[in-house]
Symmetry: C2
Subunit: 258 residues, 2 copies
Amino acid sequence: MDTEKLIQDLIDNGHKTYIGNLSIDCTIFGYHERRLKVLLLKWKGIEGWSLPGGRIKKTETLQAAAARILQERTGLANIFLKQYQVFGDSDFRVKQPEMTNLLKAMKITVPKNNWLADRTFSIGFYALVEYSEVDPKPDLFTEECNWCDINELPELLFDHNEMVDLAQKTLRQELSYLPIGSNLLPKKFTLPEIHDLYETLLGKSLDRRNFPKKLLALGIIKKLAETRNIGAHRSPFLYRFDMRNYNRALQEGLAVQF
Amino acid sequence: MDTEKLIQDLIDNGHKTYIGNLSIDCTIFGYHERRLKVLLLKWKGIEGWSLPGGRIKKTETLQAAAARILQERTGLANIFLKQYQVFGDSDFRVKQPEMTNLLKAMKITVPKNNWLADRTFSIGFYALVEYSEVDPKPDLFTEECNWCDINELPELLFDHNEMVDLAQKTLRQELSYLPIGSNLLPKKFTLPEIHDLYETLLGKSLDRRNFPKKLLALGIIKKLAETRNIGAHRSPFLYRFDMRNYNRALQEGLAVQF
DNA sequence: ACAAAAGTGTTGTCTTTACACCCATGG
DNA sequence: CCATGGGTGTAAAGACAACACTTTTGT
């Protein structure tokens, strides 16, 4: 089936497969070379970008739906993925569904009482991935899937700017409670690497000597005997996460201030 | 209309007024005489208790819906009320809607494809109120509305035990970020009163001398020149919240450890 | 005068921050 | 040998925790 037929099928039959009135949108943060990026989709026929999103199947858990959406766009599985807020109060969500207008731009008409034209609440999730491992794939409604630096975001469709802002704010708060990194760094990494990661995520500089003390004191990371050759400079030591402590911290929570 | 007619009307016509597949459940914490309570509803015809909940009207914001539900059960308005998680993954939510079974106990039959029989995701909110100001009112499905000590909760319907547990956990975390109390204490209150409040909420004892220092240092509370007569004991000074700082803290967040 | 609750400050310990020099590596 | 980035420890300041005696009030 070509795209138009698939969309038409979704309009006509989607309500048999998917839960109505409810969608998921994911703020997928990518970390690469000291920059924080967000994965965006460009809609067909208009100059509009949005976050990756999707619907929940009737027989699927919420967590599974979010994981599926993430996998469809990025190819990645087993990623830290967390719901942080339901969005439903923006004007266009309450009064009039934007979806119908967007599809109009693609010359597709949504019937007035169609399930897709209904008011939709969106459950916001965020995820953290290593962006060079991602193979971005657009979905039915979009023609491009690309990373965008979080500091250079355009105006997004729907209430997606609000979603990104809150996702970042939530992520920064979570850093005091949860260990982060095992999905973002290679198995073995150097102190400067994890240091840069935290600086990028928090958007502020952290003392180069004090920072590792905290992670070491918590037992989250362990120093290895090996070093990595980085060219014309002193070779930094490699570290790895202590997954026993890491996972314990994921469950029980931390209380660190960076 | 009597209750059965109202329920029948909700089953037949509710889908015109309310959003499908989605509900709200509120963990309403009540504080009174150093105890933390939760507001529960007893369902008609069975020995089952649940949290207060409800549906979202099609033209209503999420926040407004939660506030309406809270007001319908408690009579209170302008209460701190916050969403903390969407629940949708429990077995009975995915596989089979409990609602149909519960209504069977009330001798009401829900047709197979009725909107109320659909899988429902519930957005969890929590709120904090002074329980002596509450006038608990049951809803259509319930015959009793009562406070229950949080340490003596029975097994609740649906996944509501999980909801209460997570609400309490979230509340305790929020205490480090948000000032709490202006809805829970009289305008003027004593140090022992706010001290007891925090001890109850956190479930641990706090040093009687160190505790006020933090609130005073943050500028959240201010000492007044008046005292309150408490009978055969020394009269404690009265304090009030400094609403300017209190509201600023609500927005910007705190970082205190109690 | 006694019982019950409230008021108040200091000291020691721990945590956090600030800070600079030397070393390794490749070109 | 030079340029660049990485490695490392200590001291001062600040935050936090522990702690007990005196005052008020009503009976």
